[in-house]
Subunit: 140 residues, 4 copies
């Protein structure tokens, strides 16, 4: 299964007075990583949202925080598809600092119409791109 | 079981280009609501973190988003304790707009030392306050 | 001149590892306060942006930070109009904790069309509401 | 004068329901860019804040927003020192998308003790690094 990987630096402004990552900031990162992955598979969100009026709301998000992240940490994000439905998508996210897993999240996203905010079937070209990503052997 | 309730307004800056609540913003609200509840049971975070050097990191957070929130919505947050351990706490959050549940989250928090970032047993006074909150019949 | 006033609590998640308010968070507050004021004068942003397609981008923002804000502080925001043009508006913001001014900002906002992102003249009803606010004697 | 340059992508989560950059998000970027520059001149903030207990609060920030940023834009940040005092520093920030200047900011930062939150003179090594940056001819 293919895996998308990218890096982020945990900045001062992402940390809290306890000196560690503020967890809501982690989800801002996670959303940006997902957006970067959609770019990589050929569907930039500006196109999806503004021209095709397709939304990708998160309907379920289960997260485990295993170790604290500290200001200045280099975070390695990876993302895989664990399930592809006709109207939804399940992503597995893992975030590491060197050899340590800091947190993991399972995110279920559904395709919606931005005009009705109701779920829709994946358009054929998007479903094909997701399936292709899912089936490509990972080079990791 | 006692329930803590408070209101928030979903503002423009909490919403995204799809016109609905940006989910990382929801977690920023959730964290502030938890902080407000700690104020209400007698342990403001400034005291906990700065004087007592106790941290309250989230170790697990499972969320279901059931309906979209829109700019200007009045959000009703409620919070209950579903489990109280010797070193941890499980909170059930529910967020409604009028009669509609928008999202629910189960959050597990552990007590830590901010000096070591290791878990610690709840100090006696804090454990007593949490237990008292948990056992007080709700007036809702 | 009329003055709009409202309160906010500076929360843990608005503060940084230096233990004081993270200044970008202040601007998130400021924007929400402005939105609350537009509600108060009869123009909720959901209506302005979605139905009337009017945008209110900030074109100039000059800020002085005079004293640090700390976690748990109660912030008193006040807002006045210092200039009202045919297409723009200048707001003076002041933020206090008790008798201490923490920061001040001068914000210039222009009316735009959300379809072209070009400036437009204030619609008559909006200009009248702004003028009425500006001219009402303050009860402060 | 030397100039520090770096890139950021304007993501969905940095934009607002008007479809353009949410200005408080711009300041979160700006702060991260400044932090990255301090890394580059040899003073990572983890070291400055946690070990040396030096804070760098912003005391003045004057910003002009000249053109809207859109979701997916690649933002080119550049930063120069326009004044170096014994206890303060003035930075000039410019943010471009291709050939278009989107916004500019002048930021005054002071050195403080994180224990007293009072201003202090720049430590000798930091002052030397800032001066060296300021005086190095730019290769741009």
């Amino acid at each position: 299964m293919a895996r998308f990987e990218t890096l982020r630096t945990l900045r001062f402004g992402d940390c809290d007075p306890a000196g560690i990552a503020y967890f809501p900031s982690y989800f801002h990162f996670l959303n940006g990583v997902a957006e970067e992955w959609w770019d990589a598979i050929g569907f930039p969100w500006r196109l999806l949202f503004q021209e095709r009026r397709i939304g990708l709301p998160t309907v379920k998000l289960d997260t485990q925080f295993l170790a604290p992240g500290f200001m200045g940490d280099s975070l390695h994000f990876s993302l895989e598809i664990s399930a592809l439905g006709s109207r939804s998508l399940t992503l597995e996210h893992e975030v590491m600092r060197d050899e340590t897993v800091l947190w993991r999240a399972t995110q279920v996203v559904v395709a919606t119409s931005l005009d009705t905010h109701k779920s829709i079937a994946w358009p054929v070209d998007i479903h094909a791109a997701l399936q292709s990503f899912q089936e490509t052997p990972s080079h990791v």
